[in-house]
Symmetry: C2
Subunit: 463 residues, 2 copies
């Protein structure tokens, strides 16, 4: 579908804030998880520089029924930032100011285009940080993280990005500007709109400012890794650590195939067996480390290595940190077709990890599995020859089986990546028709003309 977006030229935007050129438009037809699809390019791109720009675009688009899709850094995995059928892309990269750090309140006001790691860099001199960023924080922005309710390796201790969002400035579909949430650390004042907008993937409003809660950097950090003989041992050790309430800041698993890929990419020499990575933060980390070690040893862990030295830790963690590149570089003839992020109740973690292996065998596909095990989150990847349509279809079928299993175990089709356009049917299978209809009622109430990122999260009404 194509929309006439000429009206944008009448808005109070400077010339370099607006483009109809195909090179500019096609830049916004893909995200990290997908290859560009020129069919899905927007008809126009606007680079807002202030809240009023977003408001003006939305008000004008809403009047005309033209879709608007916000685009953060493009590091998403589910094409949530890629238009389904044309319209306007709001490229948020220029709204990248860290507006105010308030150390005494342990808060910061940021614009949505601020890169995660840059924010934490700006906070370092105050000894503060946001602990819950995803591993992509070197590239991904606060706005994108809020849109998907991202999380990461430290979520097992520190929660999701949502848990660090106190207040949002949001532009509604009609261009009106509201604030939701509170700068108080807790509030029971009215409906929790803040949590509603977080994770709504740009379908309910556009975030133009966020006030984030901050944590004090831990006085001590220790981290390391251990290798296990079997996936059952590794998964069992992880569930035991969680059940014992050991205060881990990270608890990550990679399976033997992922270890092989990481070795190939990083030159590391992990044995091709399951490896668990961990980190502990606090004022007396040794007590927690001893408790963790005891659980690991009870599951026959070998080579438990730990260190409080930053460089040594970076070396121990290299294989985990480089998985993204290791996967894409593994086989030059294959591309990432699916990256899954199912999440299950912790007691079912060994089951879902074993099931991914069974599916790999049944479909004859290599399926590396890894993820934020302490949260019950299992990532897996399917790498396909882009020219082999049959294999690609088989990969999606295999992934669908894993997702259905996760849902059967009481889990979710997505722990952190979001629904985007591609997982809408899984959302329905997971939460049920009545819950999807409830989401739809809210969408229709807040965006009656359906201009905000249509076809994402929920089906379009006329489909």
């Amino acid at each position: 579908m194509t929309y006439d977006c000429g009206f944008l030229a009448e808005l109070p935007l400077s010339a370099d804030q607006l483009s109809f050129a195909s090179t500019a438009r096609e830049e916004f037809a893909a995200d990290f998880g997908t290859t560009a699809d020129a069919e899905r390019a927007p008809d126009a791109v606007v680079w807002p520089e202030r809240t009023e720009d977003v408001s003006a675009v939305l008000a004008a688009a809403d009047e005309r029924g033209v879709p608007v899709t916000p685009y953060a850094a493009g590091t998403g995995m589910q094409r949530a930032a890629v238009p389904v059928g044309g319209g306007i892309t709001l490229a948020m990269a220029r709204m990248d100011e860290v507006r105010e750090i308030r150390p005494a309140d342990m808060q910061v006001d940021v614009e949505p285009g601020v890169i995660g790691d840059e924010l934490n860099g700006a906070l370092e001199s105050e000894g503060l940080y946001v602990p819950s960023f995803p591993q992509s924080a070197a590239f991904s922005t606060i706005g994108g993280m809020i849109a998907t309710d991202a999380s990461g390796t430290k979520t097992v201790k520190y929660g999701e990005v949502a848990d660090w969002v106190l207040e949002l400035e949001v532009v509604r579909a009609d261009g009106s500007i509201i604030e939701v949430g509170s700068k108080a650390r807790k509030t029971s004042a009215g409906y929790n709109l803040k949590e509603l907008f977080v994770g709504s993937e740009g379908t309910l409003g556009v975030v133009t400012r966020a006030t984030l809660d901050l944590a004090t950097r831990p006085p001590q950090t220790v981290g390391g890794r251990a290798v296990f003989s079997t996936l059952g041992d590794a998964a069992g050790a992880i569930t035991d650590v969680v059940r014992a309430g050991i205060d881990v800041a990270t608890l990550e698993l990679i399976d033997p195939l992922t270890a092989e890929m990481a070795n190939a990419y990083t030159g590391s020499d992990l044995p091709a067996t399951p490896t668990v990575f961990f980190e502990i933060h606090g004022r007396a980390v040794d007590a927690e480390l001893d408790a963790l070690r005891a659980r690991f040893e009870a599951h026959d862990a070998a080579r438990i290595a730990s260190t409080a030295d930053d460089e040594e830790m970076a070396e121990l963690w290299r294989a985990r940190r480089e998985i993204g590149h290791a996967l894409t570089e593994w086989d030059p003839d294959r591309e990432l077709e699916v990256v899954g992020d199912v999440t299950v109740p912790i007691g079912s973690y060994p089951t879902i990890i074993a099931f991914i292996g069974e599916i790999a065998d049944e479909y004859g596909l290599p399926i590396p599995a890894f993820g934020h095990a302490g949260d019950g989150n299992a990532h897996y990847a399917l790498l396909c020859d882009p020219g082999d349509a049959e294999e690609r279809e088989r990969a999606h079928e295999a992934s669908d089986r894993i997702i259905r299993k996760a849902i059967d175990l009481g889990g979710t089709c997505t722990g952190e990546h979001g629904i985007g356009a591609d997982k809408r049917s899984h959302l329905r299978a997971e939460v049920g028709d009545g819950t999807v209809e409830t989401m739809r009622a809210i969408k229709d109430a807040l965006d009656p003309n359906g201009i905000l990122n249509p076809g994402t999260v929920l089906d379009e009404v006329d489909q």
Copy 2:
């Protein structure tokens, strides 16, 4: 207003599940924070025993436009469970089953009428608990805590009740039954309806089952108290502890007047100076305790007492624990007129505490202040002669001034009690017209006939 509720007799309810008697009805015309007002009694009371009962009542009431107000244990402070203008009260007390404990998943399924402390008692043999209950958990129920997004003394470490709710079964206004949230510890699947229903005070749906996340009981607990010379010292010590990232499980303040009242009620011998109570949980609590002690000493704390013994701790904490009774028993001629629960960013905590004292002086009223200081939460109470209308009006004016100050400081009019009927104008002052309208749009979308607890949180449409 009065509604004909005779249609309830046609529903598949047993005789003892329904009453039109005035004695039964008047029981539901007050909550803990207010005195009974016969004008606000419902026209009928239904005691549901299963989800289907709730569904049948709502479907029938929705067809007829009859208001329905859910009532949990009546321990609320804002009359959220008291009908504004008649209709049906849904008394949830009989839905009090702990349905399933899943220790391996660290989860429990409960009905809304389960009392907080009873749930934690049932979980004790598994070494599990919900750490975030309010101090009223000896009486208050899971359903009520969810309705207000309650929190308590341990929120500074463990978050609010909302943070322990994974999944809810909710009956919508039309009687349809949905599930929201996920049994996975994190999910990015669609809109966060779970957080929307939590804290919505029965105005968007009725919760009939909750799956709660559980924490492992800490291996070590140490707690105690310290007295300070001035409120400024106490508040300063508190903000320093939070800013240093000391891992406190509780951090509570009582002011000199509250200490006096506690002494009178409990026979304790606290000096009439500000007192701070604390608790630390973990595997190596001494390191955190030493760090806390250093901050307290830097603010000239005296009599820092701490213990790991449960009985000794109960004794140290007695003054804090008994505040509720101490306030109401303090002067037989006075009743609680207002209990405030403003919450501000932690850097402004000394300011709001000082301001409460200034208001007490200006209005010539005794205003004891206390609360969950580590969260920036300040409770205060106004005790009035019920026959003195002028004094009661002055008390409300004084409270309004404190609330406006908290809002000016970036805070909230309610950290945990909710809006109810009485704080609707403060909600608007706090979040703004556009945000209230956004809440209203959601309310209208989910409850188009406006039957769910009308006049609570939001103004009635026809007002």
